[in-house]
Symmetry: C2
């Protein structure tokens, strides 16, 4: 499945997702290279000059997560914003996380 395939898809209800992925590492190749595995999450760090764009990125990620019904964990400060996806209910990564990440990439890149 390519990035463009994922970025056209909606997240499934978490209860319906079934199980966590065994091939999360391989799936990273489908995302922007700034995504990395961070424990049971996938995380992308953005860097900016100043504060305002970091806040804007945090809100963009929040908006997307709300739209998808799959909410990120977001951190931001002066010059940076980090967006992380995981499937909290299942304690690991599901296809939903990769869909949400690909959707963010499709907006940002």
């Amino acid at each position: 499945m390519t990035v463009s395939d994922l970025s056209n898809r909606d997240c499934l209800p978490c209860k319906g997702e079934g199980e966590t992925l065994a091939d999360a590492g391989a799936r990273m190749a489908g995302l922007h290279p700034n995504w990395r595995l961070d424990g049971t999450r996938i995380l992308r760090r953005f860097t900016f000059k100043g504060f305002a764009r970091a806040v804007q990125m945090a809100n963009l990620a929040a908006w997307l997560g709300d739209k998808l019904g799959h909410h990120p964990d977001v951190g931001f400060g002066w010059g940076w914003c980090e967006v992380a996806f995981t499937s909290h209910e299942l304690g690991g990564l599901t296809e939903n996380d990769f869909i949400a990440a690909a959707r963010l990439d499709a907006i940002v890149d």
Copy 2:
């Protein structure tokens, strides 16, 4: 100095702040009890039902930090938001961090 004193003050330019505080632990007593020392930062965790209010709190903290010229590190996700202040330029806590925290308390509580 009381909380209300601090919450009426503006942050000083970081370069002018001079040095980090030796009595940071004692100063915690002047803040809302949910503030805690977290390494070289002070951090307050807020919990909410759902996502929207967490996003709103993140933006409130961002707005305050921009107003004060003393920017927080903020994290948020479903049901939670954490706001942290530190004086990055000095590698520790200064009075600015306690002023900013007291100002946030004055808005929120």
